[in-house]
């Protein structure tokens, strides 16, 4: 089948997926044990599972971020919201709340509140998204530290810890959570008109307004959704280590989430989006991280290797770059 004959949708997804495959294949050379998956006590165990499991927080953030970016915005606060949600849940557990629903509900509510603040500032006050969410990015971590009174709050709560370390159908529970969230949001966006509204607002907010789309409400909604996703990611992170570390939970993950969305081929200017490709983006980032650990290179090269690999993947996605590459090939032939 010829590349030109593919549908535009398929053509768009080919590069991120190819990027991920190339990355995985690199592991055949440098760390063959990467692909070994065993079953230990009814649980799947191996580096591939680690990639999926460790990518879960960023994948969740990326789901929310994709929608925010599709409306032409950006949510810088997700890392801090993770810290807040983790701190709220930890606080509830430590203060003696036993019901797992209350603990998770408290965390989600904190995320929703944070998303509401962002969405309100962006949608109804017309503040630039980068500025509006920057406020919570900076202040949010302070709020989380305040909740924890500056300490790392550790806890033991089997029901809540299941979020981070539990297994269902042989898979780590965070993976299941990502799948559930993905399916729900995908249905919401593609089986109702909501997805079109989001893309419409992102492509042209005032035009959407004039054809009767409540652009303010759509913006408020996507930021709330992003807040909820961030809260879920934050609780997974806290449950994973059995503690809420307000200083480090979700630190700089907003940038990984944005990167995941960009690797997935979305435009930062807004418009069309693909949740699936954003998740592929998150997997690429995590596969890269784990590849670096397995390869055993000195840690001071970590970031350099990461940057180089990401640049290559992004360049491959650029139609302009591919055209130039084609030209060089033609020139050589001639």
């Amino acid at each position: 089948m010829n590349y030109q004959n593919l549908s535009p949708q398929l053509r768009r997804s080919i590069w991120p997926v190819a990027g991920l495959l190339v990355l995985l294949l690199t592991n055949v050379l440098i760390a063959p044990e990467f692909f070994s998956i065993e079953i230990k006590d009814g649980r799947l165990y191996g580096s591939l599972i680690d990639v999926l499991n460790r990518a879960a927080p960023v994948a969740l953030l990326a789901i929310g971020m994709t929608l925010v970016i599709a409306t032409g915005g950006v949510d810088l606060s997700v890392g801090s919201v993770m810290a807040i949600a983790g701190a709220v849940s930890a606080g509830l557990i430590v203060s003696g709340v036993d019901s797992v629903f209350l603990v998770i509900g408290g965390g989600l509510l904190a995320g929703l509140a944070a998303g509401f603040v962002n969405g309100f500032l962006v949608g109804y006050f017309g503040i630039q998204p980068i500025v509006a969410t920057l406020i919570l990015m900076v202040a949010g971590r302070g709020v989380a530290q305040l909740i924890n009174s500056g300490q790392i709050v550790t806890f033991h709560h089997e029901g809540f810890e299941f979020l981070g370390v539990g297994y269902l159908f042989g898979l780590p529970f965070p993976i299941i959570l990502v799948i559930i969230t993905f399916v729900l949001v995908q249905l919401l966006m593609r089986r109702t008109a909501l997805g079109l509204f989001v893309e419409g607002v992102g492509a042209n907010a005032s035009a959407s307004h004039y054809i009767g789309i409540n652009d303010k409400l759509i913006k408020l909604m996507v930021y709330c959704l992003s807040g909820l996703c961030a809260a879920l990611a934050g609780m997974i992170a806290a449950a994973d280590i059995g503690g809420s570390d307000a200083n480090n939970a979700g630190l700089w993950l907003e940038l990984d989430a944005i990167l995941a969305v960009v690797i997935g081929g979305a435009s930062l200017m807004g418009g069309r989006f693909s949740l699936f490709l954003s998740i592929i983006g998150a997997l690429i980032i995590q596969a890269l991280t784990i590849t670096i650990i397995l390869s055993g290179v000195p840690p001071k090269f970590n970031l350099l290797i990461k940057a180089a690999a990401i640049i290559v993947i992004l360049l491959l996605q650029s139609p302009e770059f591919r055209r130039q590459l084609g030209r060089i090939k033609q020139w050589r032939r001639a």
Partner: protein
């Protein structure tokens, strides 16, 4: 908190003349980025209260410009002495000169300052990172008779703690030909990264059964890593020995549970010695060592219980 507020209210009622008689010390802290740092801040505050020192505490939120601003305001308030826990090493000369001109003695705690003229501060009170690494390695070499395949979890790349601890540790195991570091990766001093990185390292090392020990540059990473070891079906503390640095409160529970083998103390209680130096200086003493090393004890499963109970009592 309430006490300080009440203290402030009382002090303002009593008026300036009363204030002048008590010792006033300005303390510029880096921030509150880790459990160790907050314990350090709390300990300085508690020590000041115990000695009846009027402490002006300033949190710089990891920014040098905030610290410089704080020091300038301490100078303007003409405090009796200034204690600085610097966030970075460079760029302190101008503001330390200002303090010197105002004849206010400065004590540096924790990290170093790079100034050519060491008369700009009385002394620096700080732990010795290289020695911490050395102590950790010595303990491990004694416990394993010098035969050990070690996994190292480094701190943040380029941080002075990571560089120093690595240097000291490698110096000692260099003398033992049958001990070596088989894997080394950074986990950025955090618990979450410690778990994530250890998880992958265990897989890269064929499940980790051939490994002898984990050497983590701080307790947080060790605490994360022992969870990964447990999830891989091994026993931390037995199948894989665990040694780290800091001796924060959480490590003692792990020591008592037998999941960690040793932790080298990096005392956060720098307040007492700093105030000792200030009081001696104001009393007329001038010849201070330029670096007063805070000696760290090695806590093992044997001596952890006593210290744990002591800390619980406080």
């Amino acid at each position: 908190m309430n006490k300080t507020l009440m203290g402030l209210a009382l002090a303002s009622l009593l008026g300036a003349s009363q204030l002048a008689s008590a010792l006033t010390v300005g303390f510029s802290q880096v921030g509150s980025e880790s459990g160790w740092r907050t314990t350090f801040s709390e300990s300085v505050k508690a020590e000041a209260e115990k000695r009846g020192i009027d402490l002006k505490f300033s949190d710089a939120q990891q920014k040098q410009e905030n610290q410089i601003k704080a020091i300038r305001s301490f100078i303007a308030q003409s405090v009796d002495a200034i204690v600085v826990a610097p966030v970075v090493e460079t760029g302190w000369r101008p503001v330390l000169m200002e303090a010197r001109r105002a004849r206010i003695p400065v004590v540096i705690v924790d990290r170093n300052v790079a100034v050519t003229d060491d008369r700009l501060y009385i002394t620096r009170i700080a732990p010795d990172f290289v020695d911490e690494g050395r102590k950790a390695a010595q303990w491990l070499m004694e416990a394993t008779d010098g035969r050990c395949d070690i996994v190292e979890l480094q701190g943040t790349v380029g941080s002075s703690a990571a560089i120093g601890r690595m240097e000291g540790f490698n110096e000692v195991i260099g003398k033992h030909p049958e001990a070596s570091i088989v894997r080394s990766q950074t986990a950025e001093f955090t618990r979450a990264k410690g778990k994530e990185v250890m998880e992958s390292i265990l897989k890269a090392e064929g499940g980790g059964k051939a490994l002898c020990a984990l050497w983590a540059h701080n307790d947080e990473m060790a605490l994360g890593a022992i969870q990964a070891i447990k999830e891989a079906g091994l026993k931390p503390g037995e199948d894989i020995l665990v040694v780290s640095v800091d001796a924060v409160d959480d490590i003692f529970t792990a020591l008592l549970d037998g999941e960690v083998n040793a932790s080298v103390e990096m005392s956060p209680h720098l307040g007492g010695p700093a105030f000792d130096v200030i009081e001696a200086y104001l009393g007329g003493k001038r010849d201070f060592e330029k670096w007063m090393v805070m000696d760290g004890r090695v806590f093992t499963q044997e001596n952890a219980k006593a210290e744990y109970e002591k800390r619980q009592a406080n």
